[in-house]
Subunit: 425 residues, 2 copies
Amino acid sequence: MGGKIQSLPGFRDFYPEDCAVRNYVFSHWRAVAHRYGFVEYEGPVLEPTELYKKKSGDEILGQLFHFADRGERQVALRPELTPSLARMASARGRDYKKPLRWFGIGQFFRYEKPQKGRTREFYQFNVDILGEPSRAADAELIALSIDLMRDLGFTADDFTIRLSDRDAWIVFLEEQGLPADSAPAFLGIIDKMEREKPQATAAKLATLGTSREAVDAFIAAAEIGDHFTPLLDDLAARGMADFVKVDLSVVRGLAYYTGTVFEVFDKGKGMRAVAGGGRYDKLCGLISDGAAEMPACGFAMGDVVISDLIKETPHAAAQLATQLATAGATDVYVVIADEVSRPAALAAIQTLRTAGHRVGYPLAATKVGKQFAAAENQRARLALIIGAEHPAITIKDLATREQQEGNIADLLTLVGAPSHLKLNT
Amino acid sequence: MGGKIQSLPGFRDFYPEDCAVRNYVFSHWRAVAHRYGFVEYEGPVLEPTELYKKKSGDEILGQLFHFADRGERQVALRPELTPSLARMASARGRDYKKPLRWFGIGQFFRYEKPQKGRTREFYQFNVDILGEPSRAADAELIALSIDLMRDLGFTADDFTIRLSDRDAWIVFLEEQGLPADSAPAFLGIIDKMEREKPQATAAKLATLGTSREAVDAFIAAAEIGDHFTPLLDDLAARGMADFVKVDLSVVRGLAYYTGTVFEVFDKGKGMRAVAGGGRYDKLCGLISDGAAEMPACGFAMGDVVISDLIKETPHAAAQLATQLATAGATDVYVVIADEVSRPAALAAIQTLRTAGHRVGYPLAATKVGKQFAAAENQRARLALIIGAEHPAITIKDLATREQQEGNIADLLTLVGAPSHLKLNT
C-alpha cells in the first residue's frame, strides 16, 4: 500500500479557511460581472491539444499538461479559456444577440515551476465581449477591471491600468522599414523587455534591424499622442481617468492579440500584472477555419496573484477579514441538555432549517458545557436549549448573553429571521 | 491549421442557458449544506494515480483518465472526491474540531461511453461527516439529502431513500458459512443484481457457495428487522419517515464502504440512483498508512442525473423556470437617444453600477428602437433614456410601460433599489 500519499507539487488543497478566501474572490468576480450585464458560461477543462497549437503563445504551449486519452486522442488540460470561448462562439454565436457579454470562472493548468504567485493549477476569471469592433467594448472591459479592483478594496494608490495597442507597434515596424512578418518576434522582445537585461534586449532588437533607442523614443511619444483618446475619453466620462496610464511596453504574451492590450498592474512592491487582456479580432475566424469571423476582446484575472495582493494590502485584507467573520457562521446552535429530548430537538432543528436557518447540534450525547463551546467555535448567534422541561425552551444570545424563556410552539418567532450573510451562496 | 475543432466526446460546453441551470443546482447544493452547518472545501482535480488504487471500486479504476506528467509522475484526473478528502482530513484533521462537516462542489472525470445521464466529466456535490462513529451522523446526511431533494422541488412521490448496511451482509456471509474474504466479490454481485438477468446472478452466487433464494429471503427479513431502528427513529423525529425504505439490495459500488449505505432513488420511469453514499470508517487509516484512523460517512450527488430529473419532473421544472426567469436579468438598460449624450450616459451607468444595479447599454451608436429591443432581450426592468435634453431624463418601467420624467441628479432615487435576485452569486 505504500506510505502516506501527498498531493502533487503545484496543486492546492483548499481547506475550509482557504476555500472561504477563494469563494470571497469568486463572489466579487461574479457580482461585478453581473453589474456589467455579463452572463456566465463555462467550457470543458479538457480540450483537443490542437485547440492551443499556434493559437496560444509559445510560453503556454511549453507548459501544457497533455496526453493521449484511452481513445488515442491528443488532449490537454486547458491552460486558458479564450480558445474554448472562440470555439463555442464560432459554433453557436448566431443563436445570441450581439455583442455577446460572457464571463467564466474556472480552473486552468500550466506545468510551471511552482513558486510564489505561481501554481500548476489556478482559477481564472475570464470576461469577454464578442461581436463588437469598437473601442467602446475595450473601455467597458477596462472599466469592469477597475470596478472589480475597487470592489475588492483597492484604490488608485494600489493599482494602475497599463494601456497599450499592438497596432501602434505595427506602425512602428513600418516606420522602421521592417517586414510585417517580424511582428511576432518583435512583440516577444517587447514583452520580455522589463524582465531582461537592457543589453540583451538591445542585442535582440539589433538582430531584427531596429534599436532600443528607437523603441524607447516610440514609447515616450505614444504617451502624448492621440491614438488612445477615444478610449481615454470614454473612461474619463466614467470618472476613471486617474486609473489609466498609456504604456506601449505592455504587449501581453498571447499570440492572438490584435489591437488594444492592457493589464491591471500592482503599483506596490509586487510590480506584477494582476490581470490582463486585449483584442483578438482574428481568433474566432482562425478556430472556425474562416466560418465565423468575429471581433472580440477580453481579459482574465487569476486567483493566485490577486489573493496574495489582498493579503498584502491592509485595507483589502481588512475587508476580506470582515466578510469572512460573518460568512458561514451558524445561526442557531441547538443544545440538547438531556438525551431524552433528542427527538424534540431533531424536530426543532428541522423546523429551523426549513425556515432557512443554519443550524448546528451535537450528533452524540455531549456535556452541556462542551456544546456551548461548539456553538462558540461555530460562531453561532443564538443557542437554543432543549431539555427535559420541553416544550419549555431557552434561547440565549451568545453575543449579549441575554436569555429568553419560551415555548417550542413559538420557536420561529423567538429566533427571528436567519441573519447569515449570503457571501458563499 | 486543419478544419474546425470540436470539443471532446463526453465533455460539455456550458452556454449561458446551460450554465444558469448548472448554477441553479449549485446554489441549492450550497444553500442546503449551509443550513446543515457544513463548510466548503475543495481538493485538487489532478491527484497521484496511487490515491485511487485499491481504494476506489474496480469500475472507477478502469475509467480513469491517467497519464505521466512532465515530471514522470503517474497522475489521474480525479474520478471522485472521497480519497482526496481522506488524504486532507488525515493530514490536518487535528487542526479542526470534530466532527468535521465538510462539503465540496467540483468537477470529476471518468472515461465511460457517453450516453444519456452519463458524460466523461461531471460536477458532484460531496457532503461528509468525519470523526463521528454514530448512526446520528448517517441520519444527518440522509436528512440533508431529503431536504436537498425537497429544496429542488421534489416530493415523496418522486424519490425515496433506499437504506442499507454492508454489515448486514457480513452477518449473512457468516450465517451462510462463507469466508470473510469473499465479501468484496459477494457485494459486487449484489451491486449488479438489479441490472443483471436473474440466472446470471444465481450462477455467480452459486459459485461463491450461496443462492439467490437465500439472498432474497435475507433481503425480505431485513425489512421487518430492527437493525435500522435507531436511524429510522432519528429520521422519524424530523418528520422524514415517509421518505425512507430499507432495501439491502443496495450496497453501492465503491470498495471502501463499511456500514450504512444509501441512495436517493428516482421513483419515476428513470429508476436510477440520483445520489448515494455511506460509511467508510477505514479509508482515512488506509490512506494515511495507519497514522490517522477516523470514522467517516458521506454521500455524493452528480449534476447530470439530477438536472435530467428536474427537467423531466413538471413541478421541479416549473420552479427552475421561475428562478431562471428572474435571475440574471438586467435592472436598468440605458438608452442613449443621442450620441452627444454618451459621456453623460456613461457617467449615469457608472453611478447605477456603483449602487449595485445590473446595467446594460449600447456600445456603438444604435437606433433607439433597437436599443429598446435589446433591453427586452436582456429582460430589463427599467429603461433610462438619456438624450440631448440631459440633465432631464426619462425612466420607463418596461413591464407596466409607465414613464416618469426627472433630473439626472435624482437618478438613484428615481430608479430605486436593485431588484435582481442573487441566484447566481
